[in-house]
């Protein structure tokens, strides 16, 4: 199984590499280090969000409210910054993580204590959170002129040649990697995804584990709320509209199984990077950006066909089916 996982990520990395090579053949400047760094930086937010979504999907749940959470937290932080520019940015970022985690906890509580299917809960909070953006802002925008310079510039600074935004992604990826591979909590996410019944007998609280996955996804969404707003310097109701599916797409392309229990940090990151590379390559090779949506759709379908195959060879799919139908 380990070898199989490795090959899947290897194939994905090769796929990304192939796209880069193909584009470079015609446009040599595409693969210059500077441009690759830009692509990485552009994809940082998606990578972080994909990691949060992965934690949720591992537990056989799904969080469709991440983009709305991001928009709501982003609007809150932008309005605080516009009203009180003196508040230090690190405090604002911490506030974002807390607000996002609280929104995620709301999802988690409904899933844990009331046992409502996650897709229903997050379908509801998807619309509720985005509606709340409108309620707190009155439909108005917060634009660049209203934001403080530190608020906008923080992520644009660079450290050791890498933009601060990319460092956020690196740190979050490192933390999630440690959580997933080096802590009992991380193993619990996988355990309840692979076999909830067995997980219960090993003493894992299934509901609580799902709750924590939602809190993690929420906290990451909150952090990305600040990063998104300060990157695109506009906070409005439409921020990241429909992005929830891009996040799921990154996970699926990265080999995270929607049936739970299968997925790695590297896979989710590569899935996000794949979308990032394709989106950056399109304008370069002169394809209209309107192709983006169809291409990511096709990529999801191809990825899920390939994933379905490799999962089946392990003989796990029968178990999934039986439990899904139970």
């Amino acid at each position: 199984m380990n070898r199989l996982l490795k090959t899947r990520e290897l194939w994905l990395a090769l796929g990304i590499f192939a796209v880069i090579v193909l584009v470079t053949l015609r446009f040599p400047r595409f693969s210059q280090p500077g441009n690759l760094l830009t692509i990485f930086n552009d994809t940082s937010i998606l990578m972080m969000l994909a990691l949060g979504q992965m934690a949720v999907i591992l537990t056989r749940s799904i969080d469709l409210s991440m983009a709305s959470n991001l928009a709501l937290t982003g609007m809150v932080v932008a309005m605080i910054n516009a009203a009180a520019p003196g508040v230090p940015i690190p405090l604002l970022i911490a506030g974002c993580v807390v607000v996002g985690a609280a929104l995620g906890a709301f999802n988690g509580i409904l899933v844990w204590k009331l046992d409502i299917p996650p897709i229903v809960v997050t379908l509801g909070t998807l619309t509720i959170f985005r509606g709340l953006v409108f309620v707190i802002s009155g439909g108005a925008w917060v634009n660049a002129a209203q934001m403080s310079q530190e608020f906008i510039q923080l992520q644009r600074g660079s450290f050791l040649g890498l933009p601060i935004l990319s460092w956020f992604a690196v740190v979050v990826a490192g933390l999630v990697y440690l959580l997933m591979t080096r802590t009992p909590q991380g193993r619990a996410f996988y355990a309840i995804g692979v076999n909830p019944t067995a997980a219960v007998y090993t003493g894992i609280n299934v509901g609580r584990t799902k709750f924590l996955a939602f809190v993690l996804a929420g906290a990451i969404s909150g952090l990305c709320g600040y990063l998104w707003i300060s990157r695109y310097v506009i906070a409005s109701v439409e921020v990241a509209g429909g992005y929830e599916l891009t996040i799921v797409a990154a996970c699926v392309i990265g080999g995270v199984s929607i049936a739970g229990g299968i997925g790695t940090v590297a896979g989710a990151l590569l899935g996000a990077l794949f979308l990032g590379v394709v989106n950056n390559a399109l304008p370069v090779i002169g394809v209209s950006p309107f192709w983006q949506m169809a291409i990511s759709g096709a990529a999801i379908l191809i990825a899920v066909v390939l994933n379905g195959r490799s999962e089946r060879t392990k003989g796990r799919i029968i178990l999934n089916k039986a439990e899904a139908g139970a």
Partner: protein, 333 residues
Amino acid sequence: MTDFPATGRQLPNRLDKPLKSAVLSWESLLVLVALAIFIANSFASPYFLNEWSLSDMTFNFTEKALIALAMALIIITGEIDLSVASIIALASTMMGLALQAGADTPVLVMVGICVGVLCGAFNGFLVTGLKLPSIVVTIGTMSLFRGIAYIVLGDQSFKGYPASFSWFGQGYVFWVISFELVLFVVAAVIFYVLLQHTNFGRRVYAIGNNATAARFSGVRVDRIKFVLFCLTGLMSGIAAVLLTARLGSTRPSIAEGFELEAVTMVVLGGVSILGGSGTIIGVVLAALIMGLVTFGLGLLNVPGIVMSIFIGSLLIVVIALPILFRMWRQRRA
């Protein structure tokens, strides 16, 4: 993907219900909610109780509800189709292309419906033929179908549909009764009979309750699921015809968010998202409730985005209340 059921799942609706359970059923609760909202609306706005207002109200939900009827069947089998709104976008775009090629109304309608069925068949093939989880497949086709619409149209739009075509979305059959409403009522009756009074319907429930057992009892699970995906495509194609005719134009962003509203209608209507139970009457009532809520709030000048808070809360509260009630009763017992 779905939640792990800790306890046994709900049994499907029984054909012969005792009176008491009928009174306490989900559907009667929905009737009460609908009545309450109706009364609240008529107090809240002086413009509500007017035959033309009420007729306008039906346009708020007919297209989505047509899809919800088929979606209910899919969800009862334990699958889901999130690509319905994108099917509308693609079907509408293809109708626009046909229009450019000089097609007339009958051809336009045929194109819309055929594209819908083909998209549904594509979903169905991926889910049943390649044995892939429907939620991922339809998230993928959701991007793919609408993506094709964006490739064709970009930031442009198709306009200039003939008047005879517009009738499907704007015409009235009799007095204030619109063609859309008539079509919805007819479709609701057909789906009611199909689900509740045919062998096909019983098989749909059987698959949702235990696909393995259904297969061993001779139900052709994959074929039925495939048919249901085609059916959802068909209803989306019909909705595309109605919506395009009503709006009189096609943009690639047409019908955005319809999939969530259709799923909300189905779940609000008492269909278990885990599959196996639910009724068409519930779905119809839920569609009516959502139409009433959005229209009533609209009359009060509440912006659409705020309405979505109500819809989202309604979805969660309506699911949570019976669970809380059950927990409360268990604690007392």
